[in-house]
Symmetry: C2
Subunit: 224 residues, 2 copies
């Protein structure tokens, strides 16, 4: 199977850029989506600066989605519902990787935002009933992803209801050097992943750090 | 300062036993509380089997609380509110370490239980307004704690509003060989810790493992 084409909705933010850079380095064709074609193009230039051999193009979100085999959702939660509603026909039955953590930053305090559907990923699944939604990559620091010359010390927890989609995304995650993918269970567990992002951002603030999650005591190794 | 006396409310369950054994091994006097003095005594015997030099006694919860400098709450969430309400006068202004994760296991599915106060630890603080409640130790596997001859690979996230109480509990956590304590922020963050226990229990089931949490990318070391 040739390496999947990966589309990033909101690929101009740090998490989307970081993941896109890593997967471009691993040989995937990347499509950066944005509401503005200019900003999409600027994001592509940032990826090329890190990964000169990247096969990457910038497009408006709608076109990016049509071009991608797998669609990453890496937008702020504020635009999550409206963006996915608008893109639903283009997304159809594709695999959707939702990386969004619904957070608020009021008064300098980081907190989780309650989502009526349970989580951002469950909201995505409700808005995209044909798609196979996978929640993953919430706890991998964006700035570490951008330093493509270094490995990433992290375990990526992956939640999904569709087994084949989950396995594809777990295999993708392990294309990042040193990352281990772990099966976090069904999509209903995605809320716990999304909300735990609050703790990591708090740790980053307290320790002026770029923290990622690891799980000790699971004897399996990464497959790569 | 002499090592604090540590009381365990519900110290007969696996997490309470494991923590008590570790702190007994570190030289703390331990008081195991239970509703039944017989079961408290049986728990003490289990600790002595692992830690022959343990200074440990078993008592009913009320007496255990009076004897302790720091009170650990290691009961199932089902009894959390009633137990703490009954013990509030005895607990007074002590430091309370709440280890409880409110979980349900219906139909073989592990899920977090919503708590009106926000979290088990916040419920404890509401029921014990004079006490200084600290949330910690949710993600350290009980069976690994009981194997006192081995170090524990885990970072213990500690949430509290009272700085001095938080620092005492962080110092306690680092008496367990290889454990690093990290400041998880104010008590309001305890919900994210408690609910994340669902993910670890899911991983344990999927991988037949005893998982604990680690945080990568924070350059500080344990103090011990």
């Amino acid at each position: 199977m040739p390496a999947e084409v990966l589309a990033f909705i909101g690929g101009t933010g740090p998490e989307g850029l970081g993941l896109a850079a890593r997967f471009a380095a691993a040989g995937h064709e990347i499509v950066i989506g944005s509401r503005s074609p200019e900003r999409a193009q600027q994001a592509v230039e940032k990826i090329r600066a890190r990964v000169p051999q990247a096969r990457a193009t910038g497009m408006v979100n709608q076109e990016a989605v049509r071009r991608g085999d797998i669609v990453f959702v890496t937008i702020p939660f504020a635009g999550h519902r409206d963006t996915l509603e608008a893109l639903a026909p283009a997304i159809g039955a594709k695999v959707v990787v939702d990386v969004v953590s619904p957070l608020s930053f009021e008064g300098g305090k980081i907190a989780a935002v309650a989502v009526p559907e349970g989580s951002a990923a469950q909201q995505a699944q409700a808005l995209l009933p044909q798609a196979r939604v996978v929640a993953a990559f919430h706890h991998v620091d964006a700035s570490r992803l951008m330093r493509v010359e270094r490995p990433v010390e992290a375990d990526v927890l992956v939640c999904a209801d569709n087994r084949e989609a989950k396995e594809r995304v777990m295999a993708l995650a392990e294309k990042i050097e040193r990352v281990r993918a772990l099966d976090g269970g069904p999509l209903v567990n995605s809320r716990y992943l999304e909300e735990f992002t609050v703790v990591l951002l708090n740790l980053n603030k307290t320790y002026k750090a770029h923290s990622s999650l690891k799980i000790a005591g699971i004897p399996i190794r990464r497959k790569g």
